[in-house]
C-alpha cells in the first residue's frame, strides 16, 4: 500500500543521508532517491553538502517558506571549505549580504569557528574600500588587518592597497582579542605588527586549503 506523504514526512523529519532514508523507509536506494526528489518538488526538503562533503537532506513536516536572502552562516557555508552548523535560520529581508559585510559580521561574533571559517571569504573580496569603511564603522579595523594577513598566509587573496592597509594599522582603541582569551603560538609577527592576538595556530588553518 502506498504510504501517505504525511506519514513519510513524520518518519523522515530532521537531518538525513540517503542511507538513513533507505533504512527509515525500508526501501531500495533508487526508491529513496525518487522519494526525496518528490518531496523536494513539494517543498519539504532542503539539501546541503555534496562534492567532497556527504549530501544531507533536511526534511520538514511543513512546507519550507524561505523569505529574504541568506544570512551570515549561509554566506560562509557557501564560500568556505569549513562548514558551520547554524544555531538558527537567519534571513536578510530587502537586501543581500555582501562578502565584505559578512566578514565584518563574522569578526563581530568573536566566535572562534565563525572567524576561522570566514577567513576563506578574503579571497572573494571585491571592494576593499567598502570593507574598510564597514570595519571603521564597527571599530574592527586592526582585527580585520590582522586576519587579512593570516588569510594571505594560507589562501590566495587579492592584495589590499597600501592606503587602506596603513589606515587599518593606524586604527586605535580596539580590544586586543579577536576571540576572547584565545592567543596563537604562531603568527607572532602578525600579532606584534597589529597589536592583536590571533586566535589560531598554523595547524588550525589546514582545512582552508582544501
Amino acid at each position: 500500500m502506498k504510504e501517505s506523504i504525511e506519514s513519510i514526512l513524520r518518519k523522515l523529519e530532521g537531518l538525513n543521508t540517503i542511507d538513513l532514508i533507505e533504512r527509515k523507509l525500508n526501501v531500495k536506494r533508487s526508491t529513496a532517491i525518487k522519494k526525496i526528489s518528490e518531496l523536494r518538488k513539494l517543498g519539504y526538503v532542503e539539501t546541503s553538502g555534496g562534492g567532497k562533503q556527504p549530501r544531507f537532506y533536511r526534511i520538514y513536516r511543513v512546507k519550507i517558506s524561505k523569505i529574504g536572502n541568506p544570512g551570515l552562516y549561509d554566506i560562509i557555508n557557501q564560500n568556505s571549505p569549513i562548514k558551520l552548523s547554524k544555531p538558527f535560520e537567519e534571513r536578510i529581508i530587502g537586501k543581500k549580504l555582501s562578502i565584505e559585510e559578512a566578514i565584518i559580521r563574522a569578526i563581530k561574533t568573536e566566535n572562534y569557528r565563525v572567524v576561522l571559517a570566514a577567513l576563506a571569504l578574503f579571497n572573494k573580496i571585491k571592494d576593499y574600500s567598502r570593507l574598510y569603511e564597514l570595519a571603521k564603522k564597527e571599530n574592527v579595523r586592526r582585527k580585520l588587518g590582522a586576519l587579512y594577513e593570516v588569510a594571505r598566509r594560507v589562501i590566495r587573496t587579492k592584495k589590499i592597497d597600501d592606503k587602506h592597509l596603513k589606515l587599518m594599522l593606524n586604527a586605535k582603541n580596539e580590544r586586543k582579542f579577536i576571540v576572547p582569551h584565545a592567543k596563537s603560538k604562531d603568527f607572532k609577527d602578525i600579532q606584534k605588527r597589529w597589536n592583536m592576538y590571533i586566535p589560531f595556530n598554523k595547524q588550525d588553518l589546514w582545512r582552508l586549503k582544501e
Binding site: R10, E13, Y60, R61, V62, K63, I64, S65, I67, G68, G71, F88, E89, E90, R91, I92, I93, G94, K95
Partner: protein, 219 residues
C-alpha cells in the same frame, strides 16, 4: 487580515525607519506564518525587551498611520496587556517582556530557530513549543485552533513545554501549570490534538502541588 507578504512589508517599513537596531520577538499567529503553519493572522504579536523600544516602535507605527486601540476589548482585565495599534485591518500588539501571564525567558531565547533582519529591525521567531505556551497565556478566540495546528504539524518536545511552565512559576507568583493543564486537556478533548496522556498527568500533578502549596490541602 495580514499574510506573510503583508507582514514582511510592514516590518520592512519599520526597519527602514528605525535609526538604531532593535531586537524583538514574534509570537502567536505571526510566528506561525514564519513556521509555515498559518496563512494569515489578525495581528502581529511583538514582544520587546524594554519600554524604550516599545516607545520607539509606537512612534514609528503612529507615523505610519496606526492608531491606538482600547486594550480592554481584547484583553479584558488581564495583566501585562499590549499596546494595540491598528490601521484598517492591520494590527500590532506590542508587549514588553511579558505576554499576560507569560514571560520571555533566556531558555526561550535559546530556543529561537529563525531570525529575520529587516534593516534595523531584528525579528526573532519563537519555537513552536513556545508558541503553544503563549497561546495558553493569551487565550483569545482562535488560540486553541492555532495550538492544535502546531501540534499536528510539528514533533512537539513536550518536556520543553512542561519545563518552561515550571520555569514561569519561578519568575512570578503564577500558577501557569494549572492553566496549562486546562489548555492541554481542552486541546486533546475538543480539538483531538495529539497531546500525550502522561504529559497531561504530569502537568496536572505539578498544578495540584502548586495549588496545595499556595492554598493548603483540602480537608
Amino acid at each position: 487580515m495580514i499574510d506573510l507578504d503583508k507582514q514582511n512589508q510592514l516590518l520592512s517599513l519599520i526597519g527602514e525607519k528605525l535609526k538604531e537596531k532593535i531586537e524583538c520577538y514574534i509570537v502567536g499567529g505571526s510566528a506561525m506564518m514564519y513556521h509555515g503553519v498559518k496563512g494569515e493572522t489578525k495581528d502581529i504579536d511583538v514582544v520587546l525587551d524594554d519600554e524604550k523600544s516599545r516607545k520607539i516602535l509606537e512612534k514609528i507605527l503612529k507615523e505610519l498611520g496606526f492608531k491606538e486601540r482600547d486594550v480592554r476589548v481584547l484583553y479584558f482585565r488581564k495583566k501585562n496587556t499590549p499596546l494595540l495599534l491598528q490601521r484598517g485591518e492591520e494590527r500590532f500588539d506590542l508587549f514588553v517582556k511579558k505576554v499576560i501571564t507569560f514571560e520571555i525567558t533566556q531558555s526561550m531565547k535559546n530556543r529561537i530557530e529563525k531570525v529575520y533582519e529587516y534593516d534595523n529591525l531584528i525579528v526573532k521567531v519563537v519555537s513552536p513549543e513556545d508558541i503553544i505556551l503563549f497561546k495558553c497565556a493569551t487565550e483569545r478566540p482562535g488560540d486553541r485552533i492555532d495550538a492544535s495546528n502546531i501540534i499536528k504539524s510539528f514533533d512537539v518536545d513536550w518536556d520543553v513545554i512542561v519545563e518552561e511552565s515550571i520555569n514561569q512559576t519561578k519568575l512570578e507568583d503564577s500558577l501557569f501549570p494549572v492553566f496549562l493543564f486546562d489548555f492541554l486537556q481542552e486541546l486533546k478533548e475538543d480539538f483531538k490534538a495529539d497531546v500525550p496522556n502522561e504529559i497531561i498527568d504530569k502537568v496536572m500533578k505539578i498544578g495540584e502541588e502548586m495549588m496545595e502549596k499556595r492554598y493548603g490541602k483540602d480537608k
